[in-house]
């Protein structure tokens, strides 16, 4: 009995010893490992998304801002039964079926610990309802986020672009993505300044260490590393002028660029028709998107920088400058225009079939004689012309923070051989001399060209004025390596185009002495005039379908004696440059010069009635715009 008792007792002591040894093993030998596991259990890192930088115009008008929006997020690993919780959630707040399906699919696809946004468009009341019902909704958390809003809407659509939720496609393009991009529905810039300045606008993520309980609820914050908010960006654009420009272009398929000749600042870049970028921020509806993509006037395209057009007669200054620089002609040398020039058995016509007679530089430009430039081109050759075009910023991709900035094209013999596998023929040179054929330029490039002609400096366009208050490099540029006397002659000729009787843009002149404008019209063909058409007489533009009509172009700078702004306008398939583009360019120039609506005295007297009603019409479209009364007060 007592022996057996000692056996049992001894066995018990041995087993207790075993328990103690096990305890020692777990608590002492493996303590570090379990301590780590315990920390992993309770501590989670969370990213704090930085506030995206805001965008302002040159006068501090807000163009892109962040407004709070309320979101509902769900974490799969905390939810366990996703469907049941979503069903309960949809009883509490309104959820639309399609969004639920999308969210559920996303939840199942993503890592179990990723918070997935179920909806980001709920009211404060919904958020409070969800908070109250939190115990019944495991894994569901209401959150306050920031959403992008563009207060000026469509005016800045092409410049700013828009942000949207990061997509798989976006992630694929980036080698080492910022962990922020892994946050579902994180907004990144998709096009325009928002995309080009993405890194600066985004800032960098902060992180916080939080202690969570077994249900994943945050119990307390253990540590926090602040992120860096995105930089605020100030553009060179003047929102007021931009607004006017968009209103003025409304109804056309057109674009216009206003550049400050002294600094290269782009004060307005417009493209019509346009769209509301706010539609894209939380995902555009299929119907809205189709409407935009199927519109033949291409509202999504930023024609001012993306669109390239044959520059037409606006290119004549380049041909002339090439010839002058080469010393092939002097400004007073004349060429006889019979209405056409025969080159290599082919007749190249002047737009004026009867011919201009004997013309010098000034007259040829003023009346836009084609034969004069054919003649110069034959003498100077395509290589010199293309090189001169490059000097003035054509065929060069300008560094502007917008999407798909076009390089345009200044053809050379080597280029044609490379691209088309054909030899350059003399007819190509003739076509190029008047900005036709292969020559292509964007409105931005034409504005830069005009600014360089006006100042004689290598003006480079600048869109970002300052980043977080740090002024960016000016685009004033060094003097061009061309004879300033030749430039002076060009400016005189351009002055004549607008201000001399018989000039192609004389109707669109400015009549205030110190505001006079110099410019050049252009009408570029999008069709080849067939032999049949030649026989029967060229069909009038208005009788053609829209797609085949000529583009109307106009470039100008003003005031002519002390250039402040250069403007380029292209009206797609608008007909003649003097009738369709020049009036728009003049209105925009005046608006820029007066920093608001110009007085009627600036217009030729017979136009004033028409202008008055046009100003009234535009004023109605722009309820917030400055009026002349503001300036007087």
């Amino acid at each position: 009995m007592s022996r057996r008792a000692l056996v049992v007792g001894g066995l018990q002591f041995v087993l207790v010893g075993g328990l103690a040894a096990r305890m020692r093993h777990l608590q002492i030998n493996e303590a570090d490992q379990f301590r780590t596991l315990a920390e992993e259990n309770r501590i989670k890192f969370k990213l704090i998304p930085p506030a995206r930088g805001e965008v302002f115009d040159r006068n501090g008008v807000q163009l892109a801002q962040n407004v709070p929006n309320y979101q509902i997020k769900m974490v799969r690993e905390d939810t366990r039964d996703v469907e049941a919780v979503i069903a309960r959630l949809s009883q509490i707040i309104d959820l639309d079926g399609e969004a639920i399906e999308r969210a559920v699919a996303l939840i199942k696809r993503s890592a179990p610990f990723h918070p997935i946004t179920i909806t980001d468009d709920v009211t404060w009341e919904d958020i409070s309802r969800v908070s109250v019902n939190a115990p019944a909704l495991p894994g569901v958390t209401p959150e306050v986020g920031l959403s992008r809003v563009y207060p000026l809407g469509s005016d800045f659509a092409h410049i700013l672009g828009y942000v949207g939720p990061v997509s798989d496609y976006d992630l694929k393009k980036i080698d080492d993505p910022d962990p922020l991009l892994r946050i579902p529905r994180f907004q990144i810039g998709k096009v325009g300044v928002e995309a080009k300045e993405e890194i600066r606008l985004r800032g960098s993520a902060g992180s916080k260490q939080v202690e969570v309980n077994a249900a994943g609820r945050e119990m307390r914050e253990l540590g926090r590393r602040e992120g860096r908010p995105g930089a605020n960006i100030q553009l060179t654009i003047d929102a007021e002028l931009q607004n006017y420009l968009q209103a003025r272009l409304d109804g056309e398929s057109a674009s216009a660029v206003v550049i400050d000749c002294e600094t290269g600042d782009l004060v307005a870049i417009g493209s019509a028709p346009t769209y509301d970028p706010n539609l894209f921020v939380s995902g555009i509806s299929v119907a809205d998107y189709r409407e935009l993509t199927e519109n033949k006037f291409r509202p999504l395209a930023s024609k001012a920088v993306q669109g390239t057009y044959p520059p037409g007669s606006t290119f004549k200054m380049i041909t002339a400058m090439a010839a002058l620089e080469e010393g092939i002609i002097g400004p007073d040398d004349t060429v006889r225009c019979n209405g056409h020039l025969e080159v290599a058995d082919r007749k190249f016509h002047c737009w004026k079939r009867s011919g201009h007679g004997s013309v010098d530089l000034k007259n040829s430009l003023k009346r836009s004689c084609d034969v004069y430039y054919y003649d110069l081109a034959l003498k100077v050759g395509i290589e010199k012309i293309s090189a001169m075009a490059n000097v003035f910023g054509l065929g060069v991709r300008h560094n502007v923070e917008m999407s798909a900035v076009a390089r345009g094209l200044t053809p050379t013999k080597a280029w044609k051989n490379r691209v088309h596998g054909k030899d350059w023929v003399i007819g190509d040179t003739v076509n190029a001399s008047i900005g036709q054929g292969d020559m292509l330029a964007s409105p931005l490039q034409l504005a830069v060209m005009t600014a360089r002609l006006a100042t004689g400096r290598e003006v480079t366009p600048r869109l970002v004025k300052s980043v977080d208050g740090v002024e960016q490099a000016s685009g004033a540029g060094a003097p061009l390596k061309v004879d300033q006397n030749n430039l002076k002659k060009m400016r005189q000729a351009m002055f004549a185009v607008v201000n001399d009787r018989g000039g192609t843009a004389n109707k669109s002149r400015i009549t205030v002495d110190n505001m006079r404008m110099a410019g050049k019209t252009g009408t570029s063909q999008v069709r080849n005039i067939s032999a049949a058409e030649r026989r029967t007489g060229v069909v009038r533009n208005e009788d053609l379908p829209w797609e085949r009509r000529d583009h109307a172009l106009f470039v100008d700078f003003a005031p002519a004696d002390n250039p402040k702004y250069a403007v380029a306008v292209i009206v797609e398939h608008g007909g003649g440059g003097s009738t369709a583009a020049a009036p728009i360019a003049r209105d925009i120039t005046l608006q820029a010069l007066y920093d608001g609506p110009p007085p009627l005295e600036a217009y030729p007297s017979k136009d004033r009635g028409r202008i008055r009603s046009q100003q009234k019409r535009l004023a109605k479209m722009r309820p917030m715009a400055k009026t002349q009364d503001d300036d007087k007060a």
Partner: protein, 379 residues
């Protein structure tokens, strides 16, 4: 030695018996209970509600009960041992018929003022009855097959009823406690060798029968075994308890995280932290030092019981004390082995520490019997 041989004169009478209680044992039990109060206060996040306060009240009742039983003559308890056994068996049958379900098993009978778990009571009455049996049986007969089969039947009847509930853990404890008494009573070694051999055979059969038509255990029981063998296979499902329990224990280190500072229990990672897994909270907050201290107290309880049993010349008394000590040992050893991941998760609470009325009262009742045997020992 029978109670008739007592010299009544040397046995204390009336309230004087209080002085003759096994006071060291009482103090040890109270200190274990105090550890329980402390831990229940901690897991409630520094609050006496909802667990610490009711537990204290129950312990007070249990203490009074223990003393009352301890002052009742041991021969009274011996004489009603068979009756107690019979009543408990009837209660077990009643549980199967009318019991309330808790966590998928029928274990409770609601008595109105408390919920009684007859299987807990069974652990004690079985020991009582077997002790009385061997006290009655002439020693020379104890290893004869018939007189061995009878106690086996006495053990297996309640065991079968408990398995029905189903409660595998308690039924195994009943078998072990019953077998322990038989061993202590001096039944021949060979029987135990045979039983152990066939036990191993049964375990093999249990595993062989899995997913066949004659499957011996429920699926959830197999899952518990699987989970035990590889807790990491299903860390968020069935293995969760074990994994989190080991993390809590292990992260305690030498001296622990400090009172009410254990993140695992405070942040609810620990399951059943106020009942079966309360030891992990203790180990997390007070570390190895705290865990070993509790183990030492438990060991002292066993030690004082064995000492008391060895000093007791009454056969019933000493078998009873040893049986109860063995039960107590199985209680805490199985619980600790479970939370340390040494054996599968079986629902066994930590004696006097885990929150729960039934187990605490039954234990105090049992120690009342130990006290009674101690007070009324032949002198």
């Amino acid at each position: 030695m029978s109670y008739l041989e007592y010299t009544v004169k040397s046995t204390p009478t009336g309230l004087r018996k209080i002085l003759f209680l096994n006071w060291p044992l009482t103090l040890l039990l109270s200190s274990v209970a105090c550890v329980g109060f402390l831990m229940l206060y901690s897991v409630a996040g520094g609050s006496f509600t909802p667990w610490a306060e009711p537990q204290m009240k129950r312990f007070a009742v249990g203490l009074v009960l223990m003393i009352a039983i301890g002052m009742t003559p041991i021969w009274f308890w011996r004489s009603i041992a068979g009756f107690c056994y019979g009543v408990t068996v009837i209660l077990l049958i009643a549980v199967d018929l009318f019991g309330e379900e808790g966590k998928g098993a029928q274990r409770w009978i609601d008595l109105g003022f408390m919920r009684l778990q007859p299987s807990e009571l069974m652990k004690i009455t079985l020991v009582m009855f077997l002790a009385a049996y061997y006290d009655w049986l002439p020693p020379e007969k104890k290893s004869r097959p018939l007189w061995v089969l009878l106690p086996i039947a006495i053990i297996l009847l309640p065991t079968a009823l408990v398995i029905q509930q189903p409660d595998l853990g308690t039924s195994l404890l009943l078998v072990m406690a019953g077998g322990g008494i038989m061993f202590l009573a001096g039944v021949h070694w060979a029987y135990f060798a045979a039983v152990i051999t066939s036990g191993v055979g049964l375990i093999v059969a249990v595993f062989q029968s899995r997913e066949t038509s004659w499957q011996l255990l429920n699926n959830y029981q197999y899952r518990r075994i699987d989970t035990f063998i590889d807790p990491s296979a299903d860390p968020l499902g069935a293995g969760y308890h074990i994994t989190q329990s080991k993390i809590a224990l292990g992260s305690g280190g030498w001296t622990g995280r400090g009172f009410m500072q254990g993140p695992q229990s405070r942040l609810n990672f620990l399951p059943e932290k106020h009942t079966d897994f309360i030891f992990t909270t203790l180990a997390e907050e007070f570390g190895f030092v705290g865990g070993i201290s509790l183990l030492v107290i438990y060991l002292l309880v066993i030690f004082f019981c064995i000492a008391s049993a060895l000093a007791n010349r009454d056969r019933f008394s000493s078998l009873l004390i040893l049986g109860i000590a063995l039960n107590f040992f199985l209680f805490f050893a199985v619980n600790m082995a479970m939370v340390m991941g040494l054996i599968p998760v079986v629902g066994v609470p930590l004696p006097l520490v885990s929150y729960g009325g039934s187990a605490m009262l039954v234990l105090m009742l049992a120690f009342g019997l130990v006290q009674s045997a101690h007070v009324h020992r032949p002198r």
